[in-house]
């Protein structure tokens, strides 16, 4: 079986009781692609990962990883994927090198066999080789987990929120490592709640409440934003947010960094809007046109659903 797709998902459904965690999801990941799943907590990202890594059986639909069916060929998949769960799940009471050699042995490879693949990451861990995994810092734990997930040179790598709880510098480093792995021909599916990380992916899927809202390149996602976007700032941010939401022509208004972003429809008139806010007591507001980002597309799509 030769597969041109690293992952192929068709109408996958998983329910927990009455709650549908994954609701008819369809997408595919090309070979050597870094694919991002972007979505808020509870969007069904982790369930999707657990389905694709053969930890769960779907209620409907089908999926293939590396050409193998996730239900029928679960064992074949386990031998060829690397999975890094959202929660640190290596043995905290084993040392860094013990964890690495343990997972290498379970996959029947020597620690040195694929050392070239993990060397750039593992080199940073080398000074702490004998330290217990539980005593590592958050960023170091993530690096170790990535090493353990890579030690058998998987063809597909699953990373569930690999950078949650990690400082911005380490996050940046981590994504650079992923870009390098993609160069090694490893296909990667990574979930993240951070929109800035989405820009580093080849393609992203926006997901919410178990469904995919869009599958696009990050640029394509941004380009798909139609209409105007404004940035609004001023004092009394919370009161301003509430006041802006009540104005005519405002579709959505949400905090964005130090400002608020406004998506609007054709009824919106900037001059009118400023005047109304001034009458309501907001004198120092600043309103300007803004460039949309992935998050803005996300907010708009969610609003349409």
């Amino acid at each position: 079986m030769t597969a041109d797709r690293a992952i192929r998902v068709e109408g996958l459904v998983k329910r927990y009781g009455t709650m549908t965690a994954v609701d008819g999801v369809t997408f595919d990941v090309r070979r050597g692609e870094l694919f991002g799943l972007i979505g808020p907590d509870g969007a069904g990202k982790t369930t999707l990962f657990r389905l694709l890594t053969t930890l769960l059986v779907p209620d409907a639909g089908r999926a293939e990883v590396d050409g193998f069916d996730i239900v029928r060929d679960a064992r074949a998949i386990r031998a060829r994927v690397g999975y890094m769960p959202g929660r640190f799940s290596l043995y905290q009471d084993l040392s860094v090198e013990e964890n690495l050699s343990f997972f290498a042995a379970l996959f029947g490879v020597g620690e040195r066999d694929n050392y070239d693949l993990i060397a750039p990451i593992y080199r940073q861990l080398e000074p702490f080789r004998t330290r217990r995994a539980g005593k590592l810092s958050g960023g170091m734990k993530q690096k170790l987990a990535l090493c353990c997930a890579l030690i058998h040179r998987p063809s597909v790598l699953f990373l569930d929120e690999p950078t949650t709880g990690v400082d911005p510098v380490s996050r940046g480093e981590f994504w650079e490592m992923l870009a390098r792995l993609r160069g090694e021909g490893i296909s990667i599916l990574a979930a993240t709640p951070y929109m800035d990380e989405a820009r580093r992916c080849d393609r992203v899927a926006l997901c919410d409440s178990g469904r995919l809202l869009a599958v696009e390149t990050p640029e394509g996602v941004v380009a798909s934003f139609d209409g105007e976007l404004y940035a609004l700032s001023g004092r009394e941010r919370y009161a301003l947010l509430a006041a802006a939401r009540a104005e005519a022509g405002v579709v959505a208004c949400y905090p964005f960094g130090a400002e608020h972003h406004l998506t609007v429809d054709e009824r919106f008139d900037p001059a009118h809007f400023r005047q109304h806010l001034a009458e309501a007591g907001f004198h120092d507001v600043e309103l300007r046109r803004a460039e949309p980002g992935i998050e803005d597309v996300f907010m708009k799509r969610m609003h349409h659903e």
């Binding site: 679960a74 999975y83 929660r87 799940s89 290596l90 009471d93 997972f103 042995a105 379970l106 353990c148």
Partner: protein
Amino acid sequence: MRTLLVLLDKEFRQFFRNPFLPRVVIIFPLMIMFVIPWVTTLDVRHIDVAVVDHDRSQTSRRIVCKIAASDYFTLRGVEADYGAALRRLEAGDVDAILEIPDRFERSLAAADPEWVSIAANGVNALKGSLGGQYLAAVVGETLAELACERGETLPNAAPIVQNRYNPTLEYRYYMIPALMIMLLVMLCGFLPALNLVGEKEAGTIEQMNVTPVNRWTFALAKLIPFWLIGLVVLGLVMIVARVVYGLAPEGSPGAIFLAAALFVFTMSGLGFGVANGSSNMQQTMFVMFFFVMIFILMSGLITPVESMPRWAQGLTRVLPPRYFVDAMRALYLKGATIADLWVEYVALTLFALLFNGWAALSYRKQR
């Protein structure tokens, strides 16, 4: 096979690195073996007795002297009337009253002798019933002695009881094999259960489940360490029993270890299965406590199965420790052989297969 060794190596590293487990596995059995045999005894001693002697004859005085001299009784006083003695019983001062009727001595020679009355406080059922029996025995013995001295033979000579296998009916000897079994129930039932559910709580089992390790290998790697621990602990407590209490097994140690190994397989399989079915420590602990309570109270460890109601006796047939209890006591005290106990060995083997099969099958990598 290589995978199994890798997994075992990891289990042992984790076990010895745990600051708590290795100590528990050694100290807990030693504590039990050094303390419990001294405190759990069904030998009732120092029963407080009041005597109401209406007879005041040589015979009655002889009975009172014998009570006072016995280690089983503490003579709290000779009362003038039954009412006064009863008040002391009610006050909790005495546990039993012996009332010797007037003209008791003289009536013995007659065809229709007077009756001695014994009243015992039944609040503590064990102390009350044994106290009453001991008193009756003392009276009987004294009368027999007196008859003997007069050169008469009593018409109904008391039967002579000889207790085989535990001649002095030393309760401790009965208890020590039971303690060994309890230790194996606790250690080999709880530890594997907590180990497995611990991996669930830490999330490490997720990582294991996406590896190609098959579930039989995984289950074996989880169980083998506790099989070894169980047998090492058994060896340790057998040495304590020999050195401290002078109790050496009558049967062959090999037979004991074989029975213990089968039982340890069973218990660890149960623990593993229970942990598979639960998602956290609390659930595991409560379900395990349920089984352990039933095992300890119903399998003849403390009270004999034969004295249970019929339906309960039927129920004990499905409890694995029942067979192990029978086998251990027979091996330890009676010197039975494997051939004598084939039923028990077969039953334990079946339980071991059943529980471990269930444990491995209930462990699923994919849900």
